[in-house]
């Protein structure tokens, strides 16, 4: 059936690619969130609010994580490596 309808395959492949891309972003977000929580948040939990120091640490942490992500991405594509 698919053989008679190549467009059908493309759709499925496109869907697969989009799902993979989304999975990648979700994982990037989760790792970033975990890592910045570890680096910035006081684990004694003396209060339920993030204080000012924690908030600005989080902002900078996200920004730096993003830069590291971009930097390594460039290294890999420049080196002619596939992503890994």
């Amino acid at each position: 059936m698919a053989a008679n309808n190549p467009a059908g395959i493309d759709k499925e492949q496109a869907f697969g690619m989009a799902a993979t891309e989304m999975e990648y972003r979700v994982e990037l977000f989760n790792r970033l969130a975990q890592t910045c929580f570890n680096k910035c948040v006081d684990k004694r939990y003396k209060e339920a609010e993030l204080n000012m120091g924690e908030n600005s640490c989080i902002d900078r942490c996200v920004s730096k994580y993003w830069q590291v992500n971009g930097m390594i991405g460039q290294m890999l594509s420049a080196g002619g490596h596939p992503p890994m």
Partner: protein
């Protein structure tokens, strides 16, 4: 797609529970949570959610900046 989102929510829920349990519960001489453990878990969960929201906002900003540059 909908149930992918549900799956991701449930994963984050699981990781929130693990994190707050690990950070707040260390005494196993009783089988029910003590008041102070409950307080700790509640604060931890609040903080974690606020943290997630803040990271989500910053992440979205960076994503949309990147999209504009393309």
């Amino acid at each position: 797609i909908d149930h992918l989102q549900l799956r991701d929510s449930l994963r984050m829920y699981n990781s929130l529970v693990e994190r707050c349990f690990t950070d707040c519960v260390d005494n196993f001489t009783r089988k029910t949570l003590q008041k102070q453990e409950e307080t700790c878990v509640a604060r931890c969960a609040e903080k974690y959610l606020k943290h997630s929201m803040r990271v989500g906002l910053r992440f979205a900003e960076l994503n949309s900046q990147a999209a504009t540059q393309d």
